[in-house]
Amino acid sequence: MRRLYLLMGLAILVVWLLIDDTSAVGGNASPAAAGPPSAQQQTCCPEGSGTSPHKECVGGACVDVYECGFDNCAACQGCDPDGTKEWQCIQQGWIWDPFNCLCSPPGCDPDGSLEWQCVGEGGTWDPYTCWCTMSGCNPGPAILAHTTSTRYCYETGGEESFVMECSTTWRNYEVFCQDGSLYASWTIEENYCYWNDYCYQ
């Protein structure tokens, strides 16, 4: 209901602004204040001088320029216009610099596993040196503390809806510091579903 009020308020605001903009264009407002040049202005360019707006490469980006001229974004296409080099670089797990089209090796922790392990054990990770600084906790290994499960039914929806029976198992892991205090806990769910029209019975 709250969202509905907000939307109604926004709609009224838009109508109000539209009415105001119309009067401004018809009144004392200059053409420049009436927003971007319209298609009408495209005809204002002398013959042979292109269109307004036209596209140009400005600061490495292909943008609309509101002057007479011809589209020319050739300089903007960069060194990898079709994304092939970028895709190859990304796929092999390296780091891509789109501004210079450079593909660099990923450094001392290529797949992030060292960082993940460090953070998981309560350390602070330095990505530049790949140093893991441990806190005072000195956490032990993760222990499976609880396991519980439940079952439920649901319909897939859509034109051909199926009734599925699912079971979910939760495994709760805990990590303790050397002094016995709980350092971290998390839950992993495992789901198994199969088609069962009689699930609700």
């Binding site: 308020g9 990304i90 990923p106 797949d111 990505p127 699912c166 769910e189």
Partner: protein, 215 residues
């Protein structure tokens, strides 16, 4: 532009900012008034919560997604932990993502960043379990390569949130792009599902460059 119009526009801008701020607060919202803990207790200690992605805004293409993203990265998910949001209404999987490219935003490529995606299990200290089950989008998985269109970190989650609900999450596979969004007629699914990785990346770069203003 006369003074009256200026005043009117200023007022309108303030109202719009207020409305948008309200909108940002409903990210990850759709949850009923009760917390997940209370709902799970009511359900006998175990709750399966079928969760639909936030669709309060639907972007038509990567250009619009890019405009409304603070950060666009390509990276591999290293691992995740499920966490309860600060308001206790949703569980998110918080992924550590190893960035391989930063297309938009001010972070160093190669660093790990946290991304929060709704879904996952959580066990409360009193033993109550809840599982937020994605209903209309694919779970992100560990060890996969994704393009992330992200919003700045909010106060509710530990990591960055995906822009456009889950519209801004695309897995890059050898077989083509796989949007996380499972709604078949969603514009980004229609446009990009199955598209070749290189073509998709080139399109994102074009979209981001197009969005840059003339200096």
């Amino acid at each position: 532009m006369n003074q009256r119009t200026k005043n009117k526009r200023s007022t309108a801008l303030l109202v719009a900012i207020f409305v948008l701020a309200q909108g940002s607060l409903v990210v990850l919202a759709q949850a009923p008034a009760k917390t997940l803990h209370d709902r799970a207790k009511d359900a006998g200690g175990k709750l399966i919560y079928p969760y639909d992605a936030d669709r309060s805004v639907v972007y038509p293409n990567v250009e619009e997604l890019a405009k409304h993203s603070d950060l666009i990265i390509i990276g591999r998910t290293v691992g995740h932990r499920a966490r309860l949001t600060a308001d206790g209404m949703v569980v998110t999987r918080d992924f550590l993502v190893k960035t391989q490219e930063v297309i938009k935003g001010d972070i160093q490529p190669g660093l790990g960043i946290a991304v929060s995606v709704p879904g996952g299990s959580y066990r409360f200290p009193d033993g109550v379990y809840v599982y937020v089950r994605p209903r209309d989008y694919l779970d992100a998985k560990d060890g996969k390569l994704y393009v992330f269109f992200l919003r700045a970190k909010g106060s509710l989650t530990k990591g960055h949130q995906v822009a456009g609900g889950v519209q801004g999450l695309f897995e890059l596979t050898d077989g083509g792009v796989q949007p996380a969004d499972l709604v078949a007629d969603d514009p980004v699914v229609v446009k990009y599902k199955g598209k070749k990785g290189a073509d998709f990346l080139a399109e994102i770069h074009r979209a981001v460059n197009k969005g840059k203003k003339r200096p």
